[in-house]
Symmetry: C2
Subunit: 412 residues, 2 copies
């Protein structure tokens, strides 16, 4: 059993009810007997949904199902299992998804196309739907509006703590709630990796508008984190909007670019970023949380590429694990990124400490200061590449012996 992350919260965030959402979870024995591994969420009629899915060329059958049905953007049920990713399982994989949708539609009394499905866990092992579809009717019966902690636990794989976040905002003066749960741990990389995130709100927003609001926010939240640069076949982030706030006078919104959504947008980004940080802070084997900021880049994309090059470098990550202020490896990672950078203007800071400036070690820098800074649990590395004024931030963790232990033994 892996050690609990040093960043595991002392107490879990309690999530309020989102009107129109009910949840239930149970242990279906999909991989580990007795472990909560099946989640059913039910949504009231007229609930809309938007989502962002993995860019992997070997996406799972569940991801393909969601991609097809996000087009119409209506949702009544969500089924998630952990323990088996149902990825690379061929025709049987697709059949398992269809069967799950069929059974869930039955218990939710809805169309199959209003059922969303996600699976996480082992790749390449057939997922037997007989193991869990019979349990869906019990879950539907037991579904409750306050079961977020159980839901967050049901989607965990190598996560060492459940990830929950919530926020309040307003639309036209009516209070709106946004809840979110997520799982992460390994295969966390630029394109969302083995992460699942489910967000729930009582806002009333049409599907196209919901997508317009949510999708760009993924860039600076779930796509701005990396644990090990590996991208999973199953990454899924879905936002369900029940529209229940209309009962308190909130409007039903058809366009994403309207000013009345500013509070909602800011709150959604906050909840998503909160979950993204929680995912990194439970990165496999981590001992430190690292913020990499790149400034002075030619474009925002270039800043992001350079920041990811630093955040994904095994040599940078092992140096941080070893509490070694080895800023030469940061220089290396800037260089290998391939984006414009002026070596002779490059500047590096560890937190408030000026380490390098104008392409060489900063005059006042002393290694003892750097070494002392690296002993912190949260590290901030800022690099100015001296060619423009674009910037980006990426969050990551260090690469430790425990990462190797966890991943060299995952199957055994």
């Amino acid at each position: 059993m892996a050690k609990i992350s040093p960043f595991a919260p002392q107490a879990l965030t309690e999530l309020p009810v989102v009107d129109g959402v009910r949840l239930a979870a149970c242990a279906a024995g999909i991989r580990h007997p007795g472990r909560t591994d099946l989640l059913l969420a039910l949504f009231e009629p007229a609930t809309t949904v938007a989502g962002v899915l993995t860019t992997s060329k070997t996406a799972s059958a569940a991801v393909e199902w969601c991609r097809a049905h996000l087009k119409h953007g209506m949702a009544r049920a969500l089924v998630v299992n952990s323990g088996n990713a149902n990825a690379f399982t061929g025709l049987r994989g697709r059949e398992a998804v269809v069967r799950t949708a069929h059974e869930a539609a039955d218990v939710a009394e809805c169309l199959e196309t209003d059922v969303y499905i996600a699976s996480t866990g082992m790749i390449g092992e057939p997922l037997d739907p007989d193991k869990f579809v019979g349990l869906l009717s019990d879950l539907a019966r037991d579904a409750a509006p306050d079961a977020y902690e159980a839901a967050a636990r049901a989607i965990m794989t190598t996560d060492t703590y459940p990830k929950l976040a919530t926020g309040k905002c307003e639309i036209d003066g009516v209070e709106i709630t946004i809840n979110g749960i997520a799982k992460g741990a390994g295969m966390i990389a630029p394109d969302m990796a083995t992460m699942l995130a489910f967000l729930f709100t009582d806002a009333a927003i049409e599907p196209a508008a919901l997508h317009e609001v949510m999708a760009p926010l993924v860039t600076d939240s779930f796509n701005a984190i990396t644990v090990d640069s590996d991208t999973s076949t199953s990454d899924t982030a879905l936002l369900f909007a029940t529209g229940a706030s209309t009962r308190h006078g909130a409007p039903r919104i058809a366009r994403g670019d309207v000013p009345r959504l500013e509070s909602f947008r800011a709150c959604l980004l906050e909840v998503m970023t909160n979950l993204a940080h929680q995912i990194v802070k439970d990165g496999e084997g981590l001992s430190k949380f690292v913020t990499v900021k790149v400034t002075g880049a030619a474009t925002k994309d270039a800043a992001r590429v350079i920041a990811k090059s630093i955040a994904n470098s095994p040599l940078v990550k092992t140096a941080i694990a070893g509490e070694d202020p080895n800023w030469g490896r940061v220089v290396m990672a800037v260089g290998k990124a391939g984006e414009a950078a002026d070596r002779d203007k490059l500047a590096i800071r560890f937190g408030g400490i000026e380490v390098a400036k104008d392409g060489e070690m900063a005059p006042g820098y002393c290694e003892q200061d750097g070494a002392k800074y690296m002993k912190r649990q949260e590290i901030e590395i800022t690099v100015d590449v001296g060619v423009g004024d674009a910037s980006a931030t990426i969050w990551t963790c260090d690469l430790t012996h425990d990462y190797i232990s966890i991943n060299a033994d995952y199957r055994s």
Copy 2:
């Protein structure tokens, strides 16, 4: 001190003399007192040189020096130091290179522009040329035609064994020798990484032709290896051709695309590939040597990108370290590469074992067979991505606890 690589040769390859080359090495105390860390090679007049240098945007001062002088392609001396990369050292770094070239030209009685320089080791620490330029005259005096082992040792950093290779070929019926030495270990990646390779031949080939022969061979040798996906600021591969074979009747060759160079080209590729394999086999902390072959790709570049995605995946590499036949992670790495791949035609083999076929586990595959195969010291993973007929091979190693130990403590 790091453990010796399990792939370290029982006996070092003895290199024959290459007429026109003399070498000497000594301990200059650049970083570790008493460690051989300075190499001088001297070449007879009319020696030509070709080279391939790092693509890093933060290339070292020595790399910039070589890049400028490779344009004329004549060489009389090579100075290499280990222990300090003289990278990201600003104006002082450039001054150290100029000073080294000046002193070496003095002892070699040649133009400064005929001196080539390489430095490897710590990034960001000023290199003090006073530590070693005074030793160059002693080295010039002691330089001998058979000092390859000392030369190979002088360029080592975290390498656990010196890397030597040799081959014989012919040009117009005259026997030609190609010798090579290299260093590698960490920061080994697609674009040559912290690797230095120096090749020596008595062939007589004009600079432009020499470049035309050598540069393409780097793609399938030094650029087809990866240890940790990190690319160094100092990567340098230089090929020196003394032309001494003209004394035995060999012609002086002015064009690279001529049939009479076929034997030379094949031999050079063999020596370069041999050195490239030795670099991987001394990858930091490795326990296994891994060959990743991708077939059925749309283009050769796509095959290479997919093979590198597999070879660089921390999850694939840790699975191999754990002797876990976790082929799902190979599927993941194919998916994240972003190149065309037909998930439902994907096939994976471990050595001769058919693991997956037509997008799912192969019917006859049994995990015990896969697990047994993974216990080997040399692993071959072949993936057919089912969209075309291009292929590529990449060599790598696993990612172990020892890699973390070596890199979390490099400085201490």
